[in-house]
């Protein structure tokens, strides 16, 4: 197991990246950077086994901009703990210089300016180059995909995930776990998984009728690599039927199931595993708690909450490695496994700067092949933005403000609700908004925009319920994601209160009047988890709105007052 000393000896990923200095002049300094692919990929091969982790790609085949959150509140014992540290505080915690590549990749602040200097991130052709480079050092490295792969783009929606399956297969992963994949519907998921050339893992994917493990999703796979045995146990997103429409995959049950996780760890140890890796879609705080409850996990490769940290976090005797989202990062973890135990490790979170890392020609061609049939339609320019459009943050992002505005004006509503999902790339000021960009922040299999009346009292129940799914002090009762976004509605939230007592001062922004519990309000929203929801697709609603605006300019949004952060 890992000692504190081993832990501290791990070098920071950022150290391999050249820093810059000089506050307030980011773009010019960035342009002077001479960041190279060799610097990004530099790694002194260590031990006898390498893990490569990608997660939460959300179908982003091409390079994108992605702004990290400026608000990511931790509650309970996680208050002030990473990843609940953002912006300048995050940089100071990890010794990251302002304006440096690590600042741009890992934290918020001066995003639009830095984006102009450092360019886009991600792109699976660049990710392929990183993976090939690691395999050149260690040919039998284990490539693991943490899920949320077959969801989130125009082509992924149109092909029901086939574009991502084709491209990921070319990267030759060893195993995968799941979340949004199930929103393709169980029939489609089963069809893809039956033909996957790698393991589809989930110790917590159960048959709903008998509450038993399924045959299609085995709990773990054993890998004999580097003269040792490494077990990889899959952990799918525990709250799929609650956070996403359960009616789309009614045969499956999930849950955390840490007692079964313990049983699987014990089973693989008994079968001779000298190292136990969990490929997880729990979310960071849930992983951290699980590591203190389940004995014998060496490494958790952590996904779902989209956090990117330059070094692993130690919880109990387990290291937790979160690897960001949207193809922006690849984690490499080298392990020294000897005499039945993990003796040490070396880690690097590799930021995929797409102007620095050379695209892999073969995968680039494969990506273009997936996109070709749809290229003309999705490249159509709908409008332009003068403002930064982003989503990540606990309460609102400018993309969501725009979506809520679209719902209110196109659907003639008083109040709009938009789900607090964490996927969706950013656009920087001056960019055109294409149909593909709109799909990147709205695409899903249950995207119909509903319109219905709710009383003020019921609206409060909705806000309270979602707030408790995010700010419950016990991570096992958190579902990941962020607070439901509201348009036309302001409120005050005290994150440290109990369910039912967090939300107050609900105000209808249009009139400035307090929300009347007894009155009915016309609400427009999207992404209902309920079967039979009717309305136009959200991307059509947003497209129509942007077309009318021509150029999007967002205003500062102060409608949510946050207390207790």
């Amino acid at each position: 197991m890992i000692s504190r000393r081993d832990f501290l000896q791990v070098g920071m990923a950022a150290s391999a990246i050249v820093g810059a200095s000089g506050f307030g002049n980011w773009a010019r300094l960035a342009a002077q950077q001479s960041l190279t692919q060799d610097q990004l990929l530099e790694f002194e091969t260590f031990g006898n086994v390498s893990l490569i982790h990608v997660t939460d790609i959300h179908a982003q085949l091409k390079p994108i901009y992605f702004r990290e959150p400026s608000e990511n509140i931790g509650v309970g014992s996680n208050k002030g703990a990473v990843p609940h540290v953002t912006g300048a505080k995050f940089r100071s915690l990890y010794g990251i210089e302002d304006g440096s590549p690590s600042h741009y990749a890992l934290s918020s602040g001066d995003f639009a300016s830095l984006a102009k200097g450092y360019g886009r991130v991600g792109g699976l052709d660049r990710v392929a180059t990183v993976i090939k480079s690691i395999r050149a050092d260690r040919p039998d490295a284990i490539l693991l995909d943490g899920g949320d792969t077959w969801h989130g783009s125009y082509t992924c929606y149109k092909t029901a995930g086939q574009d991502m399956v084709n491209v990921m297969n070319a990267l030759n992963p060893d195993a995968m776990t799941f979340h949004w994949e199930f929103t393709l519907g169980s029939e489609r998921v089963n069809e893809i998984v039956e033909n996957l050339p790698f393991a589809a893992l989930g110790q917590n994917i159960f048959d709903v009728e008998w509450d038993e493990p399924t045959e299609l999703f085995p709990p773990y796979k054993m890998f004999e690599r580097g003269g040792t045995k490494v077990a990889v146990i899959g952990q799918a997103f525990p709250y799929m039927p609650i956070a996403n429409p359960g009616w789309m995959f009614p045969e499956y049950a999930f849950g955390i199931r840490d007692e079964n996780m313990q049983a699987m760890v014990d089973e693989v140890r008994a079968e001779g595993a000298e190292c136990v890796v969990v490929l997880s879609h729990n979310g960071f705080d849930v992983d951290k708690k699980m590591a203190t409850i389940v004995d014998g996990i060496d490494v958790i490769l952590s996904g779902h909450t989209h956090d990117a940290l330059p070094e692993p976090v130690l919880s109990g005797k387990t290291i937790i490695v979160p690897s960001g989202s949207n193809g922006k990062f690849v984690s490499r973890v080298d392990l020294d496994i000897r005499n039945g135990q993990l003796l040490g490790y070396r880690h690097k979170l590799i930021p995929v700067f797409s102007d620095v890392i050379e695209p892999d020609a073969e995968v680039a061609a494969l990506i273009d092949e997936q996109r070709a049939p749809y290229l003309e339609d999705m490249s159509e320019v709908i409008g332009k933005t003068d403002s930064l459009l982003y989503r990540r943050g606990n309460f609102n992002g400018t993309w969501d403000d725009l979506i809520c505005d679209a719902l209110i004006s196109e659907r003639d509503a008083e109040i709009a609700l938009s789900p607090g999902v964490r996927w969706g790339p950013s656009l920087i000021p001056g960019q055109d908004i294409t149909r593909e960009d709109i799909f990147n922040v709205t695409s899903m299999t249950y995207g119909k925009a509903y319109r219905s009346e709710m009383t003020g009292e019921f609206l409060k129940v909705v806000l309270e319920d979602v707030a408790d799914n995010i700010f419950n002090p016990d991570p096992y009762y958190q579902q990941g994601g962020d607070m439901v976004r509201t348009g036309g509605l302001g409120y005050r939230i005290d994150v440290n209160q109990s369910q039912g007592n967090r939300i107050s001062n609900m105000t209808l922004l249009k009139s400035g009047e307090a929300i009347d519990p007894a009155r009915s309000y016309m609400i427009a929203g999207w992404a209902s988890v309920n079967e039979g929801t009717e309305g136009p697709q959200i991307w059509d609603v947003v497209e129509s709105h942007i077309r009318k605006l021509g150029t999007v300019t967002t205003q500062e949004n102060n409608s949510v007052e946050v207390v207790g952060a």
Binding site: F237, D465, D468, T533
Partner: protein, 140 residues
């Protein structure tokens, strides 16, 4: 409009997120009475029962619950947020190899599931699990 549980569930069909009502009356005292009646007020030990329940119910109408209570002569389950908290009593004879069972129960709202075991020596044991019943949330 008065918001009943039935209306709440009906409304849910048009929204992406909604909740178990926080304002339902607490039935915990009913459970306390029932437990006292069962044990005659005896002290309740902890640690002998393993109670397995989901942290968040996927479907409040059918929540899988399991227990393992070695040495128990009978185990009674209570759901302290249901209008009628008594769920079931499982009795084990001296030849029972395993003192465990699993079932599914309906939970009206977020509440504790309580298992009380009467042990073969006449002492009592308790285990609790909090199960959240919610229909809300947005995945990352």
């Amino acid at each position: 409009m008065e918001l009943t549980r039935r209306k709440l569930l009906a409304l849910g069909s048009s929204t992406f997120a909604l909740a178990g009502l926080a304002s339902l009356p607490a039935f915990a005292s009913l459970t306390d009475h029932a437990v006292a009646a069962l044990t005659g007020g005896a002290d309740l030990g902890e640690g002998a029962i393993t109670l397995t329940a989901p942290e968040i119910a996927e479907n409040g109408n059918t929540v899988p619950i399991a227990f393992d209570a070695p040495g128990a002569a009978e185990v009674t389950l209570f759901a302290d947020g249901n209008p009628v908290p008594n769920v079931a009593t499982f009795k084990f004879g001296p030849l029972s190899a395993s003192r465990s069972a699993s079932t599914r129960i309906r939970l009206a709202t977020t509440q504790n599931v309580v298992a009380i075991a009467k042990m073969e020596d006449g002492s009592f044991q308790i285990a609790k699990a909090n199960v959240k019943v919610t229909i809300g949330g947005c995945g990352g």
